[in-house]
Amino acid sequence: MSEIKDVPKGLRVKPINNGTVIDHIAGGQALNVLKILGIYGITDATVSVVMNVESRKLCKKDIVKIEDRELLEEEVNRIALIAPAASINIIRDGKVIEKRTVDLPDEIVGVVRCQNPNCISNTLEPIKSRMLVKTKNPVLLRCIYCEQPLTDRIAEYLI
């Protein structure tokens, strides 16, 4: 089974033997996907990022490959916050052993900060941000503390 259909092998990204390939990320959002996955700053992970390549499904898409890490379902679902069309391929021994689509859970905890500067969740209280997912497409979140909605610019509020 080929690993990624839209990008010919060897052109921009080398296939990986083990790990996760996140495909069909909306163009330009790859770095935010990495942020959601906790991969930023100094990391030991082997990560390949391709941004703004042509796609049949989206006009432009990003691809992220993370070697030797199989994403958990809850990690995958958080990606839906900014890349609702993303598809996840889990690779073992060079083969896609599982394909998943992303599906936002009903509540997102500790991933997105409330945009209301006067919200109690933006203080030093011992709590994590908690957002209810009111709609999934387009994504509409609501802070459970101050009830402020968040729909645009979600990427700016990633923790």
Binding site: C114, N116, N118, C119, I120, S121, T123, L124, E125, P126, I127, C143, I144, Y145, C146, E147, Q148, P149
Partner: protein, 306 residues
């Protein structure tokens, strides 16, 4: 009917729960007027006011004391554990250990919900920043029920409908009763669109106008709010706007006989003192009704058998 552990927002109240609070308040009104009671004997209410309050704090205190209970106060934040940097979560855990219920007013939105997550005892939200103030809404509803009628009500909400948390919660609660709501405000202080959309989605008739004179003769309740000077950078503009939303006895000449005028108080000059003596004025009764309504909530949350 009333299974709540905390009172945080009006959105968490069903119509039936509101009715049960208002009925309970009616049965407790004689005690609010001074009849002796030991209903809350041995119970302690903690008042955690991180912001100044007169009416809400004192009416909670009155409600608890008239029912025979005790009250403890956080006192000024200066010199307390708060000024030493203690979190709200820790404060409510500690004080929740001293009291049977906590009343909290805090400048941050969502603070009461946070408190409810850490408190070992029921939390009553007495105002969280620009968020919610459900006990005000319940006393407003009680006033309307007592002094006018909740069924087939025609009400005008007047003044600052943009920032006023009181009118947002009240409009929502009135939508549960099928009220006909007219929003009267200057263009810059209109009720936010998502709140209006929410009201309309519940089948509530909502109309908007800038002209108070246009509606005064066609409503049962005139709910006035204060237009704050600081909302207007230009004092001339403020004076112009504020004078359009000021009522006098002459202004109400053509009003319905049973029209009542309400205000969450404090008023500044949006209701002329000469209105106080007219049969329309109800704002001081409204303020008093805070006592039986808060008594009802306390009894339902922490009274015997609650």
């Amino acid at each position: 009917m009333f299974k709540k552990r905390h009172v945080l927002t009006m959105r968490e109240f069903s119509r039936e729960e509101i009715d049960s609070v208002l009925d309970m308040a009616a049965s407790l009104e004689p005690y609010a007027r001074g009849r002796k009671s030991d209903m809350m004997a041995g119970k302690i209410l903690a008042l955690l006011f991180f912001e100044p309050s007169t009416r809400t704090r004192m009416s909670f205190e009155t409600a608890m004391k008239r029912l025979g209970g005790g009250v403890i106060n956080l006192g000024p934040a200066e010199g307390s554990s708060i000024s030493k940097g203690e979190s709200l979560a820790d404060t409510v855990r500690v004080i929740g250990g001293y009291a049977d219920a906590l009343v909290i007013r805090h400048p941050k939105e969502g603070s009461a919900r946070l408190a409810s997550q850490f408190s070992p005892v029921p939390v009553l939200n007495a105002g969280d920043g620009a968020g919610h103030h459900p006990t005000q809404t319940l006393l407003d509803l009680y006033t309307i029920k007592k002094e006018s009628h909740l069924e087939n009500l025609s009400i005008a909400l007047v003044g600052d409908l943009k920032y006023g948390r009181t009118v947002h919660s009240l409009a929502y609660a009135l939508s549960l009763f099928g009220a006909d709501i007219t929003l009267v405000s200057p263009a810059s202080l209109r009720m936010p669109d998502p709140i209006k959309a929410d009201l309309s989605s519940k089948g509530t008739r909502v109309r908007e106008t800038c002209d108070l004179g246009e509606v005064i003769n066609n409503v049962d309740v005139l709910y006035m709010t204060r237009i704050q000077r600081e909302r207007f950078p230009d004092p001339v503009e403020y004076n112009k706007v504020a004078s359009c939303y000021r009522i006098t006895p002459e202004f109400m000449t053509g009003a319905r006989e049973g029209l009542i005028v309400m205000h969450p108080l404090p008023r500044v000059d949006e209701i002329a003192p000469s209105v106080d003596g007219t049969p329309h004025a109800r704002y001081f009764q409204q303020s008093f009704y805070g006592v039986p309504v808060r008594m009802a909530l306390l009894k339902m949350l922490i009274g015997r058998g609650a």
